[in-house]
Amino acid sequence: MNRILWVINFLVVNIAFLNAQADIEKRIQTDMIMAENGSTVQITEGVFTMSKSISMDGKKNVTIKGKGIDKTILSFKGQVAGAEGIKITNCENIILEDLTVQDSKGDLIKTMHVKGITFRRVKAEWTGKPSKTNGSYALYPVQCENVMIDSCIAIGASDAGIYVGQSKHIIVKNCTAYRNVAGIEIENSLYADVFDNVSTGNTGGILVFDLPNLVQKRGGYVRVFNNVIKENNFSNFAPKGNIVASVPKGTGMLILATNNVEIFNNQIINNKTTGVSIISYFMTEIKIKDKDYYPYPSAIDIHDNNFERKKGRVPFNGRFAKIYWFKLKFGRNVPHVVYDGVIDKKALDTNGQTKPENRICVRNNKNQTVANMDAANGFKNVSRDPNQFDCTLEKIKAVDNFTAKN
């Protein structure tokens, strides 16, 4: 008899709990729909299970605020609908802060067409072992302006932990990214400052990419400084077909076809394949059909960084590793900075040289070693002469970010 009572009691409590969960989900969504411009949507402390993605659209000056990282937790583990955890679209000046978001089926937090978006003290993670069934991006502003990502944590993304795509005027600072395929990625974005972050234990630490066939065609004017980019040697778990699936494990930084990038004062340590790689889109071996796309990296300035790497061969894993082992033949003495050496013949000066303002410059780094892969000529004349990169470029200006001033 007692046992029956106990079971009934258990059921009642559980049903009440489930109802309460559903109520909270509905309340958060209602708050986000009804939020008046200038208001704050408060989310209390606790772990809340969300069955559907929650969204906000068309608001101005709204703050969504929890009680702190790991205090307010929205878990999308049992999600049945919606492709992301939280989606914010067509807004102005939105702040998301002090909460943890977990285990959505697609991306964790996606913001699109938002002018002024701040992520502050937000942890976005896929719990458990990194897996290709995790969503693509933890924090995902796309086609936004004035993006501020401050003191956030991103874990377990099968593409990039912090991914800023097709956006302008971006600051990513004080963040930690680990066990993602890419820790931090800036893609087809203009004017970005990425500083004071720790990117570690990912496949690749920080990526700066320009890809074809996109609405915002050309990124650049990206500064990456004062970051710790360490031990990004995690096996690549991205689903094939995505560009990051071809990033070799052990990549500190990868610059793909981007122009005007300055990398300085970083600690780039024990990334087994490369400290910084600078490559053209041709290295992806994907046909380019976008007439307006510029596949060459140019105006890259790498200075005043500290490189460290234990001696040893690059991990034998994937297509790039094969190039390292069989074409570049660096053996155990792997250079920190490599450049594919594919140049745009149309952009040379009258002497057939790269114009000074377009050069790849590597100067004044601690433990600096370099290589030009000569990829355009089948890696025939691989050169480790540092003089070819001994130059400097005009410093890129700090990002003018409206959000940072407020």
Binding site: D23, K26, R27, Q29, T30, M32, I33, M34, K52, S53, S55, M56, D57, G58, Q79, V80, A81, G82, A83, K87, T89, N90, S104, K105, G106, D107, M112, H113, K132, T133, N134, G135, S136, Y137, Y140, V142, Q143, S158, D159, Y163, G165, Q166, L211, N213, L214, V215, A238, P239, K240, G241, N242, I243, I286, K287, K289, D290
Partner: protein, 349 residues
Amino acid sequence: MKKLYIFIATIFIINLATTFKQDNAPTHSYKEKLSEYGFFEGKISEQQPAKNVMPYTLNAPLFSDYAYKLRFVQLPDNQQVAYNADSVFQFPKGTAIIKTFYYKNDERNDKKGRRLIETRVLLHQENGWVSLPYIWNDDQTDAVLEVTGGTTKVAWRDAQGAKKEFEYIVPNMNQCKGCHERNGVMTPIGPSARQLNGDFKYADGTENQLIKWKNANVLRGGEDVKNAPKLVHYDDATASLDARARAYLDINCAHCHNKTGPAQTSGLLLDWKTTDSTAYGFYKTPIAAGRGSGNLKFDIVPGKPNESILVYRMESTDPGVMMPELSRSQQHTEGVKLIKEWIKSMKTN
């Protein structure tokens, strides 16, 4: 708690209502119940349109988990909508577009009745379109505004007599805009010339909808409606495979996948006007698909449906993979079959 929210919502609605009144515009105020708009005559579940409400249908409708749909439009008195051949008609302020989703209890026998699930009302207000989801009660006597949407179990027998059952999801107000958006602005999707250029069984006889609208003085311009473009229905076996497939992609994908829609970020543009083959998916690599890529390289590989991401995402019912992202939790078997056949019919490079 629920009451408190209804209360807050009501206050909000009253506030909005008063704001709109001040504008003196021919716009609606939000109603809590569908019946309050007066869109229908007689028993509301019969969905008989009132005099100033026109029923219509689309040549190639969006797939929404096998739901049937009834569509209506109400223009403000004595107003017209401008005809254009290319895009969705620009309805005047004060227009209401009404769409009711229902399931037949038995697709083999209409006499067994139907169950209305939800009615989505699009209102063209002074500040633009708003979308309002109304959910039908069990008695089918009215539908009530639920801004957060909801879930309800639906069950029916299909045309083969097989029992079907699943949790139907009514999208919330924001999610409506997930599809109904151009350049960040809420907009209708369906009623364009190419979609309306077909017959409808009106109470007074069957007629081409554009001609009916023209004769009823609802269309402004459009002297050449007879030459209007026409989408084929993707079920129409008499049409070419290419036309059927493109019509399917136009209505099921292009509401997001167009140059100014929410999926423009992907660079995949599946609207009927796209001529660039890469933008249309041919040998196009994904951008931010994540596990939606299914380990495949390209959106469409001619001749190889099983290597095409497009097919993989249409087949999936996993919220992190499937396309479209919203308003579908069942696989559209017939749609998948069509797109597979279409891709298979193409020559491999």
